[in-house]
């Protein structure tokens, strides 16, 4: 089970968001809050490591990492398919 606070915890490892992570709403656009392409790659790597998943190429786009809610959904799907 992936919950928003776990994602917030992971977001703290991204330098551009570390200061503002706790105040982020689930639907705030992370790219508007300072996430850039470098940060989004670092975030993907941190999520892959933490949840032992791999993002397939078709999910490596801005939308997959645009809000905490979308990240929760994406990671949940990938953890389910990894367990299956």
């Amino acid at each position: 089970m992936v919950v928003p606070d776990d994602i917030r915890e992971t977001l703290k490892s991204v330098a551009a968001l570390s200061e503002t992570t706790d105040s982020l709403g689930e639907d705030d656009n992370l790219f508007d809050k300072g996430l850039d392409s470098f940060g989004s790659v670092q975030l993907m790597l941190a999520l892959e490591e933490r949840y032992n998943i791999e993002f397939p190429d078709n999910l490596l786009n801005r939308r997959s990492f645009s809000t905490i809610r979308i990240i929760v959904e994406t990671v949940s799907k990938l953890t389910v398919s990894a367990a299956a």
Binding site: D32, E48, D57
Partner: protein, 387 residues
């Protein structure tokens, strides 16, 4: 030859007449821009419903290529204009004011310029210090723009700034400022090795009481990712490809002249010409494949925003800019002193100085560092005939 290519050729003929003077005096290629307006090419990208031609990026790239063979600066001005218009067309359709602006572009053939570079930030497109200050229905905007290419000659400037004075440096919007709405105070002069006619001076830009409707509704992050990145790299590359083609044309003419003077012998430069022609063909293949992939991805935000797509575009920019310099230098090697000297039919000084800007316009090292980061997560397994 299609109609757009014919119109572009007519503009190129005008641009060629003035290219040396534009370069020598570091002046705006005014005659070429008037010709672009006469041929109505400044509005070619605007959708049909606003009076334009809904031209594809490939058609615009063709014009960039044609102009670059005559005058690199005129070609780069046209490319930069179209990159800004691409942002308007891709992201302005939901805004009445911006739809009106599109009509105005075709009706009056307005020239667009860009103010993204800023003192204290440099060329980092995705960060701003300056901010939009909204007061009721209007906003004030002030920017220390260390570069606004042909800013003094533009009818419209699209400028980046933070959404409001408390916003993060990357929380940016793009505002459209019309000539009569802003003041520009020159802070630096563009006196450079090449690309002298782009007149990329620095300015202090000030605008007051501008209607908030002129702020593009989409966040600049989205505009940069979905239209600017692709249109910049593809149109700049088409300009550099044009410069390289022009240089190789001169080298070919030189070798053919040598061959005619000494029948029965293959001139020594012919082998070098064959090598350079090989490189030019590879360059063309790279640009065409990228243009096709971009056009196939239209309307597919996921594909346009994907890591694989960004890597592809980064690679186009670094590859084409390096190859263009290489080819012009090879051409100079083939032509020899007739190319080194100004004022001969084989002179290559101006194209060489112009093309040396290519690896520096967003430094290739910066782009490679970005690609290196993206490659940390990209997966393999692509197919030959698909992305």
């Amino acid at each position: 030859m299609n109609a757009v290519a014919v119109r572009a050729k007519r503009v190129a003929a005008v641009a060629a007449l003035h290219a040396d003077d534009v370069d020598r005096e570091a002046r705006f290629p005014a005659e070429a821009v008037v010709a672009l307006k006469t041929e109505r090419l400044l509005g070619m990208q605007i959708p049909l419903q606003f009076g334009g031609e809904s031209a594809s990026l490939s058609q615009i790239a063709e014009v960039c290529f044609t102009l670059a063979q005559a005058c690199s600066a005129a070609a780069m001005v046209f490319a930069m204009h179209q990159i800004k218009v691409a942002s308007l067309v891709s992201h302005g359709l939901d805004s009445g004011w911006h739809c009106g602006l599109m009509e105005k572009v075709t009706r009056e053939q307005l020239l667009f310029a860009s103010a993204t570079t800023e003192g204290g930030i440099g060329g980092d497109l995705r960060n701003s210090l300056c901010a939009v200050e909204t007061v009721g229905d209007v906003f004030h905007f002030s920017k220390d723009a260390t570069v606004i290419s042909y800013g003094a000659h533009a009818d419209v400037i699209l400028a980046t700034g933070r959404r409001h004075p408390d916003a993060a440096s990357s929380d940016q919007v793009l505002v459209a400022l019309l000539k009569g709405q802003m003041s520009l105070e020159r802070t630096s002069t563009w006196d450079t090795l090449g690309m002298r006619g782009t007149c990329s001076d620095g300015f202090k830009l000030e605008a007051r009481d501008v209607p908030v409707a002129q702020i593009l509704p989409k966040p600049f992050a989205e505009i940069a990712a979905q239209s600017m990145l692709a249109s910049s790299h593809l149109l700049w590359s088409s300009v550099w490809f044009g410069i390289a083609s022009h240089a190789l044309d001169r080298a070919r003419a030189y070798v053919q002249g040598e061959a005619r003077r000494r029948p029965g012998q293959v001139p020594p430069g012919a082998l070098r010409l064959a090598e350079a022609a090989n490189e030019l063909q590879a360059m063309k293949g790279t640009i065409l494949a990228a243009l096709r992939r971009y056009e196939a991805a239209q309307g597919n935000a996921d594909e346009l925003g994907s890591i694989g797509f960004a890597v592809m575009l980064n690679n186009v920019k670094t590859t084409i800019s390096d190859k263009a310099v290489d080819i012009v230098q090879r051409a100079l090697g083939i032509v020899g002193l007739s190319g080194y000297k100004n004022g001969t039919p084989f002179s290559l000084g101006r194209p060489l100085r112009d093309v040396l800007s290519a690896p520096l316009m967003i430094n290739n090292d910066r782009i490679l560092a970005n690609t290196a980061n993206l490659l940390l997560v990209q997966k393999g397994g692509a197919q030959l005939l698909s992305a």
